[in-house]
């Protein structure tokens, strides 16, 4: 047959920023030879919000509300990292009850984040019912968050010095009920996916990268643990009292998408363990430091119209004590001063090492807050992971990275 005149050229395809893959506004420029990816160039910046610059124009306490929206799937981790950093600059420590509650909500958040990952990855790989199951459980967790903090997402609950308010009545029972419900549900997901030949075909052996390359590229989190390196900041460089909790860090050696899925499912189970230990060791105590120069002055409590200042506190500052009123005024409008210095505080978020580098020049505003977003650094792995592979695997690989663009772009 004579030459059909087929041209062999590579095709340049633009994937995103708006695309059905629900991992946010990530744009990838792929160069394809047929179905094989020859080159890949991820383009970021489609969700850049200027959070870091915004924190320089607000007080230290207000910084929490900005920072919590960076990685919007794990807001408590952002807040905890920021507050731990500022507390280190101030030289204070949150009271023990606050530490325990912080760990508890962080681990619940980890479960919620992994559920969204499972749901969206299932949706992208074709297991559409997984989307509904994942969000069903997430609603349970969001209801618990709403009971505790008043909001479903972006809570601004963890504050410098502790928590903005203590657990309300009924929260512990709700969480215990959830703990009874969840293991069966996780088992359901495994039944649905782990043995499923389609799921296995799309994830086993896909996206393998050697652990040395990953470490060189700065990848952390479940990706690293699925490749055999048992690095988890909660165990290695603990914060918030994590060294006193009993939990395992799941590690796999295959390093493919299926291993990452297994690691995340197992992490959900371990998080349930930690939450149970938190509930058992909750003792009555303050949820915020006592120092009146730093503590968020208003005692918030849940009233008939939601969360607001407690009437007893309002009576105290308006009628009883002039100093309390002045103190309240100063802290709310100007905030407190933080001694000059710099601190880098990292926590283990569901995506990896989430770090906050906080610089103070002694004033009542942050001088520089830099967020080391795990998604930003993990996304550097994408070209290495997909070059030479099929286009269909691109979706599975990027999904297994669990990028959240709010974290990558800030």
């Amino acid at each position: 047959m004579e030459d059909l005149g087929l041209r062999e050229e590579t095709m340049i395809i633009n994937m995103g920023p708006q695309h059905p893959s629900t991992h946010g506004v990530l744009r990838m420029v792929l160069e394809l030879d047929g179905e094989y990816v020859v080159a890949c160039r991820p383009v970021l910046g489609y969700l850049h919000t200027g959070i870091e610059k915004n924190t320089e124009y607000r007080t230290w306490q207000q910084g929490v509300t900005f920072v919590t929206r960076a990685d919007y799937l794990s807001p408590f981790f952002n807040e905890a990292a920021y507050c731990l950093a500022v507390e280190r600059l101030l030289g204070i420590e949150a009271p023990p009850r606050a530490q325990v509650i912080r760990v508890m909500v962080m681990e619940l958040n980890r479960i919620a984040s992994h559920l969204v990952w499972l749901a969206t990855t299932g949706l992208e790989l074709g297991a559409i019912s997984m989307m509904l199951y994942g969000f069903r459980e997430r609603e349970e967790i969001l209801r618990i968050f709403e009971l505790i903090t008043g909001l479903r997402m972006n809570h601004a609950y963890v504050r410098v010095g502790g928590l903005v308010m203590d657990l309300p009545d009924g929260a512990e029972e709700r969480i215990r009920d959830f703990l009874k419900l969840m293991p069966g549900r996780i088992h359901e997901y495994e039944e649905l996916l782990s043995g499923n030949p389609i799921w296995r075909q799309r994830t086993v052996g896909i996206g393998q990268v050697s652990p040395e390359v990953m470490l060189g590229l700065g990848v952390t989190g479940p990706l690293l643990r699925a490749a055999g390196i048992p690095w988890d900041l909660r165990k290695e460089l603990p914060y918030c009292g994590y060294e006193t909790y009993e939990f395992d860090v799941p590690v796999r050696t295959e390093g493919d998408c299926f291993a990452r899925y297994e690691v995340r499912v197992e992490e959900m189970r371990q998080s349930l363990r930690i939450v149970e230990q938190c509930l058992d060791r909750l003792t009555p105590g303050p949820a915020m430091v006592e120092d009146p120069k730093i503590r968020w002055p208003a005692q918030l409590e849940v009233g008939p119209d939601g969360i607001g200042n407690s009437p007893a506190y309002v009576k105290h500052i308006m009628e009883e004590s002039m100093e309390a009123l002045i103190n309240h005024f100063k802290i709310v409008t100007q905030g407190f001063r933080v001694p000059a210095g710099e601190v880098y505080q990292a926590v283990e978020s569901p995506r990896g090492e989430l770090g906050h580098y906080v610089v103070s020049n002694g004033s009542n505003r942050p001088y520089r807050v830099h967020i080391r977003g795990p998604s930003f650094v993990n996304l550097q792995l994408v070209p290495t992971m997909i070059v030479g592979k099929l286009v269909a695997d691109v979706i599975a690989c990027v999904a297994s990275l669990d990028p959240v663009m709010g974290d990558a772009d800030r």
Binding site: L44, G50, N54, Y57, G91, A346, Y367, V377
Partner: protein
């Protein structure tokens, strides 16, 4: 080794070592940066083989003005160290050697610093903007770049944008 021991060990090689709040910070000159990072990475009892973060802080009015901070982590010894480099305000843009040959993760981290501060990393394979649009003018996180934003009119009152409110 714990933080004071690490500080002492590093003081043997680096003249400016600061230990504060449980962290060790080394300050080096811009032309010694590559050597310093290599030493920190390859010495067996240091082995800071993981670069967590590269970032910059702008101190206008000071010389050096741009302070880069490299956060290194040793997974073997479970410790962190910070390396700081000060770059003078002139010439603009400030230049420093890139850490990409030593730590591949610095690729995008340095692109971000270039995007937001204008620091040029010599030896970087692909130095261009990463977050802002390609044709953006200015470097947003510098202190002389305004926060921008819109002012608000509310019930006859004029509320300026956040960076002009003078709290």
């Amino acid at each position: 080794m714990d933080t004071p021991a690490l500080a002492q060990r590093l003081a043997q090689r680096f003249p400016e070592v600061l230990e504060a709040r449980g962290e060790v910070t080394i300050t080096v000159e811009a032309d010694e940066l590559a050597q310093a990072l290599l030493h920190l990475r390859d010495e067996p009892d240091l082995s800071f083989r993981f670069l967590s973060d590269v970032t910059c802080t702008d101190w206008p009015g000071l010389d050096p003005r741009y302070w880069l901070a490299y956060h290194l982590l040793s997974t073997e010894h479970r410790q962190r160290v910070r390396v700081k480099v000060g770059l003078p305000p002139e010439p603009d843009p400030p230049r420093v050697a890139s850490a990409v040959p030593l730590f591949p993760t610095a690729n995008w981290l340095e692109r971000e610093v270039f995007d937001f501060y204008g620091v040029v990393f010599e030896g970087h394979p692909d130095l261009r903007r990463i977050e802002m649009p390609e044709d953006w003018v200015g470097h947003p996180l510098r202190k002389d770049h305004p926060l921008a934003g819109v002012n608000t009119q509310y019930k006859g009152a004029f509320i300026p944008p956040p960076d002009r409110r003078g709290l």
